[in-house]
């Protein structure tokens, strides 16, 4: 449960305080053990502490770490790995795999146990399955030894690092879902008047899905090459928007006994609204993937888009006609109990994890600590072409990062990160979401009604839960629920 997150941290704090006290009382020992003991280990010097510890572990040996990384992330990781090698003498080599296949590759390692990599960067939502497969090292013991007490303090989202209360990885990408709006359209006085006359409330960054849907309908005039939005309608992405719409209606996806709530009237209404909003998207919404979405919205012919920091990196580049012409917003909320309920959503992310087949698990852990430390992660996030987004408070103050993302975007991104609901970190997440995606797409394509689609999904979910093991799932679900942001937790049923 939450033992590692709460008790564990205080236990570590106690150990580290004790170690610091011991070091202070024993000068020769402090001299021998280097910087880690010369000054207290903190998040600020975590990279130094990690590098020193790794150097000690590798002394007299030739050690090389192999990292399995998703394609496109090398720009983020390599500058950090080069510094690590310079600081520790430990070489790093990379094995790149397609972005959508990395979790599969890590799972295959659980079967083959070939030892072909020491660390990996799987998508955060896959960590529970990987942890259950036994391929991930439970990092609690290494964290107790090496993690500075305040290491996670300015990390804005840490839920995905834990499974059933134990640490399995360190988040390295702030993938919270955000809204992008066409600012010239939003601030056009004529449009503002026409909209207010028609709808009876002002045209502004929408607070609710209802307002957003109305705005997309208002702007959608395909004959004039103007579209309401470029929101995803492809199977892989569609579930995330529905997830946001559903939570905004005030419900958890599962009851405490794991009965699916997704097919309740709120879930059906959320899907019907999503389907209605599909009419106001550009033509490619049903077929285009991530990068096509960037390009389509970058044309400047649509009002709204949904995406991550990576979307902003593209839209703030010279490739986009909307550079400097964007307004940003949190994912819209809904009215639950008559009051606005916002449920920003962290739905992707990448975690540094250590392979249980690695010959150097502790050094692997230390690399994770090093790479996600404030100093090193800032270097990683700065990369213009990579897709690691800010996830630590310190990132939001870095001038280079502010230039890459723009201060306006970062302001919204930070709030969203701080208040994000977690992704569905359950064993079998892929299967649960696959069923959801297939059925939502079927409903959006018109081959099922919203109710049918969600009923079918709920039945599949029950079967998945029964097969995966209801008792074990209940433990994780209780843990996950307890980690929803406090402000939202109290308002969800």
């Amino acid at each position: 449960m939450e033992n590692r997150m709460r008790d564990g941290q205080s236990r570590r704090k106690f150990l580290l305080t004790g170690a610091a006290g011991l070091a202070a009382a024993s000068a020769p020992a402090a001299l021998l053990s280097g910087l880690a003991f010369a000054e207290p280990a903190t998040a600020a010097n975590a990279h130094v502490v990690a590098a020193e510890a790794a150097k000690k572990l590798a002394v007299g040996r030739s050690v090389k770490l192999t990292i399995l990384e998703p394609s496109g992330s090398l720009g983020n990781i390599k500058p950090v790995a080069d510094k690590w090698t310079a600081d520790t003498g430990i070489a790093v080599e990379f094995v790149e795999v397609p972005l959508g296949e990395i979790n599969q590759k890590v799972l295959l390692e659980a079967v083959s146990r070939s030892g072909s990599f020491d660390l990996a960067l799987p998508a955060t939502f896959g960590v529970p399955d990987l942890a259950e497969s036994g391929i991930l090292v439970n990092l609690d013991k290494y964290a107790e030894l090496h993690e500075p007490p305040d290491f996670q303090k300015d990390v804005l989202y840490t839920i995905g690092d834990y499974y059933k209360g134990s640490l399995y990885g360190y988040e390295t990408d702030g993938d919270t879902y955000l809204m992008f709006y066409n600012k010239p359209w939003l601030e056009n006085v004529d449009e503002q008047k026409a909209f207010a006359d028609k709808l009876g409330y002002p045209l502004k960054v929408p607070d609710t899905w209802e307002e957003l849907d109305a705005m997309m309908a208002f702007f959608h005039q395909p004959e004039k090459n103007m579209f309401g939005g470029t929101l995803f309608r492809t199977q892989y992405f569609i579930a995330w928007e529905w997830w946001g719409r559903f939570h905004a209606k005030g419900f958890y996806p599962l009851a405490d006994d794991l009965t699916p709530q997704i097919n309740n009237p709120a879930g059906v209404a959320a899907l019907e609204e999503l389907i209605a909003a599909s009419k106001h998207q550009y033509a490619g919404a049903k077929s285009n993937g991530l990068f096509e979405n960037f390009e389509a919205y970058g044309q400047g012919t649509a009002f709204a888009n949904i995406g991550w920091g990576g979307t902003q990196k593209y839209l703030n580049s010279e490739k986009s006609k909307l550079k400097g012409k964007l307004a940003f917003g949190l994912m819209p909320g809904g009215k639950a109990g008559g009051e606005l309920l916002r449920a920003p959503y962290f739905n992707w992310g990448w975690n540094y994890v250590v392979s249980s087949v690695s010959h150097e698990p502790e050094i692997g852990y230390l690399f994770s600590l090093y790479a996600t430390s404030p100093a090193m992660s800032t270097i990683a996030v700065r990369d213009v072409d990579g897709y690691f987004d800010p996830f630590r408070g310190v990132h939001y103050e870095d001038p280079q990062i502010r230039e890459v993302y723009t201060p306006e975007f970062l302001e919204v991104h930070k709030v969203s990160m701080q208040n994000s609901i977690p992704d569905f970190y359950m064993k079998g997440q892929g299967e649960y979401f696959d069923e959801l995606r297939v059925n939502l797409t079927a409903a959006d394509a018109g081959t099922k009604t919203a109710k049918q689609a969600l009923d079918d999904t709920a039945h599949s979910w029950e079967r998945i839960t029964r097969r995966v093991g209801a008792r074990s799932q209940k433990v994780q679900w209780a843990f996950l629920k307890s980690n929803y942001p406090e402000a939202i937790r109290g308002r969800l049923k």
Partner: protein, 307 residues
């Protein structure tokens, strides 16, 4: 003097087993045993897995998996996606093989007589089946893309822009997939039918011509019945192959939208290699195996009856 032979009892003891086997059986037995092991071991493992819930994510070896007996089969019975994938695959097999057969028969009749560029034309016609299936599928993906040549041609014909998402339409998405399959594998059917036509006994046909039978009558009353065994074998081969259709589905739609193009191989690929539900998919594989064997036996019986 003759040398004293070795003790007869020793001979019979060391060679006894081999001597009892007929020579021809002894020759093929090792190979048969190896083949049996290669085929039998995976089959036994599949049957075992079908009775378990094993997933690599369970962190236990497959042979220690907990048995769930027939729960997988029960779940599959109520698994709408599985049932639809099976039915859809039968539909694809029916449509593709029927179209291939008609096209192949027509082409083979054209190529029965000698004409000037016949050899070059045959080479051109069989080219598609030389292409790696995944490449062929990729070509069709580009052809049917929203901004691809097909929509462009339709736009030219209509005189106004035509943007249709072939691959994300729940009804039409199957069309490019089936076209790809038909385009690539009609040549194989063509070769099989052409070979059958060439091998037909010419005397009966000549006699029919001499007696003044019309070409359609000769075709339907004489050629087609004589050709039926060959057609049966060709259809059987293509049915088995088409049932495994994967590359075009994977490359064009991956079973989307909403499972509208999910064939049984795509369903099993997702289950086994994306979500690692080995036990469940082993049960699905067994059901599919039984269905395919039953269908093929039915076809084979019909071929035998006409042979």
């Amino acid at each position: 003097m003759f040398e004293q032979p070795a003790s007869p009892s020793l001979v019979s003891r060391s060679w006894g087993f081999r001597l009892r086997l007929p020579f021809n059986v002894a020759l093929v037995l090792p190979a048969q045993l190896i083949i049996l092991a290669v085929a039998l071991a995976p089959a036994v493992i599949v049957v075992w897995l079908a009775l378990t819930d094993w997933q690599p994510t369970d962190a236990i070896p497959w042979y220690q998996a907990e048995t769930v007996w027939f729960w997988n089969f029960y779940d599959l019975w109520y698994d709408e996606r599985f049932v639809n994938a099976v039915l859809r695959t039968f539909f694809v097999v029916g449509v593709c093989v029927a179209v291939e057969l008609v096209l192949a028969l027509g082409l083979a009749l054209l190529f029965l007589e000698d004409w000037r560029w016949k050899k070059i034309a045959v080479s051109v016609i069989i080219l598609p089946m030389m292409i790696i299936p995944v490449d062929a599928a990729n070509a069709f993906f580009m052809l049917f893309n929203e901004h691809g040549p097909i929509n462009h041609l339709v736009s030219l014909a209509l005189g106004h822009p035509f943007e249709f998402s072939w691959l994300s339409h729940p009804t039409w998405a199957m069309v490019p997939i089936m076209l790809c399959e038909i385009w690539q594998w009609t040549p194989l059917m063509f070769l099989l039918v052409l070979t059958g036509l060439i091998a037909l006994p010419q005397n009966q046909i000549r006699a029919a011509v001499m007696l003044g039978a019309s070409p359609p009558r000769i075709f339907f009353k004489l050629v087609l019945p004589l050709l039926l065994p060959v057609l049966g074998v060709a259809v059987l081969i293509r049915c088995i192959e088409t049932f495994k259709i994967f590359d075009p589905v994977y490359m064009l739609t991956r079973g989307q939208p909403g499972g509208a193009t999910e064939t049984i191989s795509m369903y099993m690929y997702n289950g086994a290699f994306v979500y690692f539900r080995m036990g469940y998919i082993a049960a699905a594989a067994l059901i599919v195996l039984i269905l395919v064997v039953a269908t093929c036996l039915g076809l084979a019986k019909s071929v035998q009856q006409h042979g």
